[in-house]
Symmetry: C2
Subunit: 343 residues, 2 copies
């Protein structure tokens, strides 16, 4: 029985505009003890994702918001420390939507689910907060299931150097598409083209977007994987082809807004080009994660999908680290290393 | 050989905001003579439709805009007066995208196509500018193919007393759905509920839309057939269910705008509710019009689809009549009777 402490960050207040560290309250609790059917999980990696910002608000959303005073919700890769559930053994590696804390109870009456990672691991454990985690699955199902790219088509992805966008572009390359990424720095553009094999990349902070898209997409845009909404969506809509598909994955440009945000001014292009805009949430695909693990695991091992992880050390740094999701100072996937991987 | 005159309205200028009669120029030309392969069609009914406003502008659109100086484009029900094409005989009744004029040449080198109406006619000829015309087909394919309503679901349609909306609602009733129409007068609301069998109707000019939708749609909204965009779309988005479908048929609230129009402020609901917004243009379905004629013809004959036609007499009145599409003073389908039906 572990008698140490359980460090936690709880939601202290809902952000108005940008997240600030004061939206979180630091607490130390005893490490909880599992009851029958429950499992105690030690957090190894805590994933930080733009969707966390949605959960912190009380806007209409796809899960209940985190309540004030609750432990902040987060996707976790962890290890079972103690099990009173016959389906899980001590030392099993698991993932689940748990929280910003050292230890969490799952299963049984907790209302929180976990899944076992494949054993033996096909890749380093940290890949499971990256391309083999929720962001990779989001890229996989959003692009293939909703975007339905065909070889030779042109795919544009925004937030292209992010955890989702970077995998979207690489899967589209595997499927034979022309891939153009939109991102916010020349360094990220170089990374996309030179390291990940994108055909072109546009720095939206310095380019005239419509002009740049016309140049990078001489045959128009067949699939736009939208992570951001806003002005970038508007520019893309001017260049979409007939029957374009727009998987709507995120609207990060709007998450910190304090005033109502207008939808795209070029919304009528959806009508004129007979386009399809379809929202999706990766949790709806949970029964099919196995397909994604198989394909992405193979592509990672073959070197066809590369990924960058920015790992921040220490749970205590999570409230500041999450700001990197919104200020553009990040390449690839952001996570916090909360405790050591098992040896 | 007909030696009479051919009255025409040509596009004189592009509207800025609302259409005005001065956007059209009246001309009298000789009646044209068909060359080999061509057919001379006498216009009987000229259909007036919101999409005409799009054709008059040079915004991005789904067909080439009408050029200044060209005969104004319009959907016509007519009769063959003279044929130099072996597939058509004098007296054949036909439909096609012809123009605002007494006579038009079709087929051959004209670039204009026509289709024969079924013979014998299953309904009165005027039904072919209504539920058996382009607006009826738009309702049919937009609702069934894109909206995919299931029995027991709730369908909301805007511009519900219009040519498309009134047929959408009645087909949805045939399919076992709860149907709520949004329209702009109490008289139209009564017509929808008492004559057409809608479950409820909302006068958007007097109701608080979100409150009224919550009351009329206690189980939320599964399909929203959008003819208008704008504030009505925004209100509907707050009430859509998971996996909602939004066939995007028209954006009439924006057609006369002189400034950029923002998209829906509640665009993020498309993401949160995993909704699908899909634009469509009825011309894409032309190879399948036979399906629609068969079903709608049967429903009209069985009295399951009722329709209202507002027939304006005389081609000379077309430039003023078209304004009725945008000022709300119309129930059902608007058309101009240009010449007499064959006896």
């Amino acid at each position: 029985m572990n008698t140490g402490k359980n460090r936690q960050f709880r939601l202290a207040s809902r952000p108005v505009g940008d997240i600030t560290a004061s939206n979180f309250e630091y607490r130390e609790e005893p490490i909880p003890q599992p009851s029958d059917g429950e499992v105690l999980v030690r957090t190894i990696y805590l994933s930080l994702d733009p969707t966390n910002r949605i959960w912190m608000s009380d806007r209409p959303q796809y899960m209940p918001p985190v309540e004030i005073g609750q432990v902040m919700r987060g996707v976790v890769i962890g290890v079972v420390e103690e099990s009173k559930n016959p389906d899980f053994q001590k030392e099993d590696l698991v993932s689940g939507v748990l929280g910003w804390q050292d230890y969490a109870l799952a299963l049984g009456n907790t209302g929180l689910g976990i899944s076992k990672l494949p054993s033996p691991l096909p890749c380093p454990l940290s890949a499971f907060v990256g391309p083999l985690g929720a962001t990779g699955f989001t890229a996989y199902f959003g692009l293939l299931d909703i975007g339905q790219p065909k070889s030779g088509e042109t795919i544009v992805v925004s937030a292209a150097a992010g955890a989702v966008g970077s995998v979207v572009g690489q899967i589209a390359k595997i499927k034979g598409c022309r891939v153009v990424g939109i991102t916010g720095s020349n360094e990220k553009c170089r990374w996309l083209v030179e390291e990940l094999g994108f055909d072109d990349a546009i720095n939206y902070k310095t380019a005239d977007l419509e002009t740049a898209l016309a140049k990078s997409c001489p045959n128009g845009i067949d699939v736009y994987f939208d992570n951001v909404g806003g002005a970038i969506l508007d520019a893309v809509l001017t260049k979409i082809n007939l029957d374009a598909r727009i998987p709507l994955c995120g609207l990060i440009s709007t998450y910190n807004a304090t005033e109502p945000v207008p939808g795209p001014y070029n919304y009528s292009q959806i009508l004129m080009q007979r386009a399809r805009v379809q929202g999706f949430i990766i949790l709806d695909y949970s029964s099919r994660f196995g397909e994604a693990i198989k394909d992405i695991g193979q592509w990672v091992n073959e070197g066809k999908i590369k990924y960058a992880l920015e790992i921040v050390e220490g749970l205590e740094n999570a409230p500041l680290a999450i700001l990197k999701l919104f200020n553009g100072n990040k390449i690839g996937k952001l996570a916090v290393k909360v405790s050591e991987e098992p040896v």
